[in-house]
């Protein structure tokens, strides 16, 4: 589908890479400085027809994170994130 979902939707793929639930991590956009929980950012391209998932800043649309699942690899890039912080008490994903 062509519309976006919430950062929440990426909990599954992120659990393959990170030890704790990343959707409650707080991230700061390198473009505009907006700081919020990853679950509240916008995610495009979670449907079958997409090349990969793109997390965009909820306030300036900049690309924060991209996530591509190939048959052999999970490729995650953070082109637009200045800071990512996790609460140490977050339980394992």
């Amino acid at each position: 589908m062509s519309s976006h979902v919430d950062g929440n939707a990426l909990a599954g793929p992120f659990s393959e890479v990170f030890r704790t639930d990343m959707t409650t991590a707080v991230c700061c956009c390198g473009g505009c400085g907006d700081t919020t929980t990853l679950a509240t950012e916008m995610v495009y391209g979670t449907d079958a027809l997409a090349h990969g998932s793109i997390v965009r800043c909820r306030s300036c649309d900049d690309v924060l994170i991209t996530l591509v699942e190939t048959p052999d690899r999970l490729v995650v890039r953070f082109p637009g994130i200045a800071t990512l912080s996790v609460d140490r008490d977050t339980p394992p994903a």
Binding site: S3, D6, N8, D21
Partner: protein, 237 residues
């Protein structure tokens, strides 16, 4: 890391003309909080796989989960789940996932739930958690559906209604015969009329198709709700 677990369908129930609920028993399921989702993976005989996210309608320590799925006619996975899957069939799930869009009984704010269509799924889990915990914080649900037949979990919601949990329906295409208002969308005026006001500082959970969630979230902020007290789960579409 959360692994794929094998689930066995134990029950299916027709909920609406386009949707049904499915109960899946999952070996090693650790239980889940109200509002969490899982990822569901289907594998075709040639090895092709499709993964989609589905919210969980059930809550607690049980090793089975209840989902409810609405059919996207041209979709790949939802028609299979709504029309094909039978008790005994196996599929894979990963979860529970997400700790943001959740309600736990420690949260003592009044809670307003707002659902569009299948967006009821994580919200009924919250209503169930509220009832199970014997929580006395006020809960209210605004549930928007096209027609009376399109209500998911109609009987379950009726059974959950109590002193502290109230359900309001909004019909967008056609209403029951004796309904006081004509069909219409969940506008700012409707929200103002039948939800917990911003002045009571409620927590608000909104879930459904993306367009629905965006319109409702905008109205809520217009009505004075703090953006950080409004949590959303967009299903896409």
């Amino acid at each position: 890391m959360t692994d794929w677990k094998v689930g066995t369908v134990t029950d299916t129930r027709t909920e609406t003309p386009t949707g049904r609920s499915i109960t899946i028993s999952v070996d090693g399921w650790p239980g889940n909080l109200a509002g969490q989702h899982l990822d569901l993976r289907l594998t075709a005989p040639d090895g092709y796989q499709a993964v989609r996210s589905y919210s969980i309608a059930s809550v607690g320590d049980a090793t089975s989960v209840q989902l409810a799925v609405d059919r996207f006619p041209t979709g790949e996975v939802s028609p299979y789940l709504v029309d094909e899957v039978l008790p005994g069939d196996q599929l894979e799930v990963k979860g529970p996932l997400g700790r943001w869009f959740v309600w736990t009984p420690e949260d003592t704010r009044p809670i307003q739930l707002i659902a569009g269509g299948s967006g009821i799924v994580p919200l009924i889990a919250m209503a169930r958690a509220h009832a199970m915990a014997g929580s006395t914080t006020p809960f209210r649900l605004l549930y928007s559906v096209r027609t009376p037949e399109d209500r998911f979990f109609a009987d379950d919601l009726a059974a959950l209604e109590s002193e502290t949990f109230h359900v309001d329906y909004v019909y967008t295409r056609s209403t029951p015969a004796d309904w006081p208002t004509p069909p219409g969308r969940v506008t700012r005026e409707v929200i103002e009329a039948v939800t917990i006001p911003a002045s009571d500082s409620p927590g608000v959970f909104v879930c459904g198709p993306t367009g629905f969630v965006e319109a409702v979230a905008r109205s809520l902020v217009d009505l004075g709700h703090q953006p950080q007290s409004v949590k959303t789960e967009r299903f896409g579409g």
